[in-house]
């Protein structure tokens, strides 16, 4: 195998082109290294362009190779996209977060990957370039082919960045998860919410839960029920019921039964909404 630490995006694209399907992009390697390694690896984790976190106009943009540690501690992410900070800070362990990346989390396509769920909750889009130089932009939830398989072909396509609108006044986001342990445990269920309030009533909302389908899944029926309502105890109970009714889940011998998972979907989605709404109303810490 050959391993190249790329020093520019051009070099990444050229190497993939030369590899003709046998070379693959790697970022942190925490998922890829445990699988069969391809003939060539092109490492993009040292590129300036893929490791920046910035706000341009009204979009926050994070490079695809931003590590979970970097995302979880970024002041911009903490204040304007709290769900992502919360999703990243619970992944694996410090050692995994120090090297694993948000782009890798999405392209690895695990159904309940924590950063990916938070990103879908925030409404993130991925910017992708292929070896011919064509650039496209795609909502994160549309990047899944099947369980554990991304539509991004990492032998010829590179995710450059992830972009979404920051949570401004009257908006808040939150991420919730439940796992057997507080570290090094994949979630039984995770959820994310983003909400915009106007005069105390829900104007816009995104509710996401996983693992429900191959991709983190928006609960559109429940979202519709909440539009125009205040986020009070009654609404929260309604969301808990409706979220669990809206989805079908599978049980897993390793993690939990389908019935328990369904219960968790209701609880975690409604909790995420409650916290997001509190943040939107400025009841959490300043700026959340």
């Amino acid at each position: 195998m050959s391993y190249l630490i790329a020093s520019s995006l051009d070099e990444v694209l050229t190497s993939l082109r030369d590899g003709s399907g046998k070379a693959r992009v790697v970022a942190g390697g925490t998922d890829l290294y445990l699988q069969d390694l391809p003939y060539g690896l092109v490492d993009l984790s040292c590129l300036k362009g893929t490791t920046v976190i910035e706000q341009e106009d009204d979009l926050i943009s994070l490079g695809s190779a931003v590590t979970h540690t970097a995302a979880a501690s970024s002041p911009l992410v903490l204040s304007r996209a709290r769900a992502l900070a919360e999703g990243c800070e619970v992944i694996g362990s410090p050692q995994i977060r120090n090297i694993g990346t948000i782009g890798g989390n999405v392209v690895n396509a695990a159904p309940a990957a924590d950063a990916a769920v938070a990103l879908v909750g925030l409404g993130a889009e991925a910017v992708i370039i292929d070896i011919e130089g064509n650039i496209r932009q795609e909502a994160v939830e549309n990047l899944y082919w099947e369980y554990n398989r991304s539509l991004i072909d990492s032998t010829r396509e590179v995710m450059i960045s992830l972009q979404f609108k920051p949570c401004m006044d009257g908006e808040g986001s939150a991420f919730t998860r439940f796992a057997a342990r507080r570290a090094l445990a994949l979630p039984m269920v995770n959820a994310a919410a983003r909400v915009k309030l106007e005069n105390g009533l829900v104007k816009e909302i995104r509710l996401v839960a996983a693992p429900v389908n191959p991709a983190p899944t928006r609960l559109v029926k429940t979202e519709e029920l909440v539009i125009g309502k205040p986020v009070n105890d009654q609404t929260i109970s309604m969301v808990e019921r409706s979220a669990a009714e809206e989805v079908e889940v599978r049980g897993s011998l390793l993690r939990c039964s389908a019935r328990y998972r369904l219960h968790l979907v209701g609880v975690l989605v409604s909790r995420a909404l409650k916290t997001a709404a509190e943040r939107a109303m400025g009841q959490g810490k300043a700026g959340e």
């Binding site: 050959s2 630490i5 290294y33 362990s93």
Partner: protein
Amino acid sequence: MNNLKKQVLIFQLNGEPVEIFADPAESLLTVLREKLGLYGTKAGCGKGECGACTVLLDDRAVNSCLVPAGKVQGRKVETIENLSQGGKVHMIQEEFVEKGAVQCGFCSPGMVMSAYALLKENPQPNPEQVKVAISGNLCRCSGYKQIEEAILSAAERLKN
């Protein structure tokens, strides 16, 4: 893409430049132990779950079993061997001994490296931050309490 299986890798190891000829797909853990004879870093699960293989890559704790050797090209690696200087062990290690934080000792190099990475970044951590810092390191013997105490008392010594 060339056809060679092995390539020259140059990186900084424990403050010194090293140059090796290795398969970049090999793990940094294997390179450290089998090529460079540094046996302080322990091989446990081999899949990122136990932390026994923890080293610092550019000052951050990582699982060396998950890092392909090719990734360290041009970067800075620090292992447990670098902590004792001039025949004297590091004060984090002294505190581990002092507080009875070492039983069989298999997890200790990894634990100490996680503690070392924490104190490098945050010399005055609170107990919760200490717990998070070692949450990627499993210990089958100690029950963690003494390890947390050892790290907090190392931080206390840093203050003075």
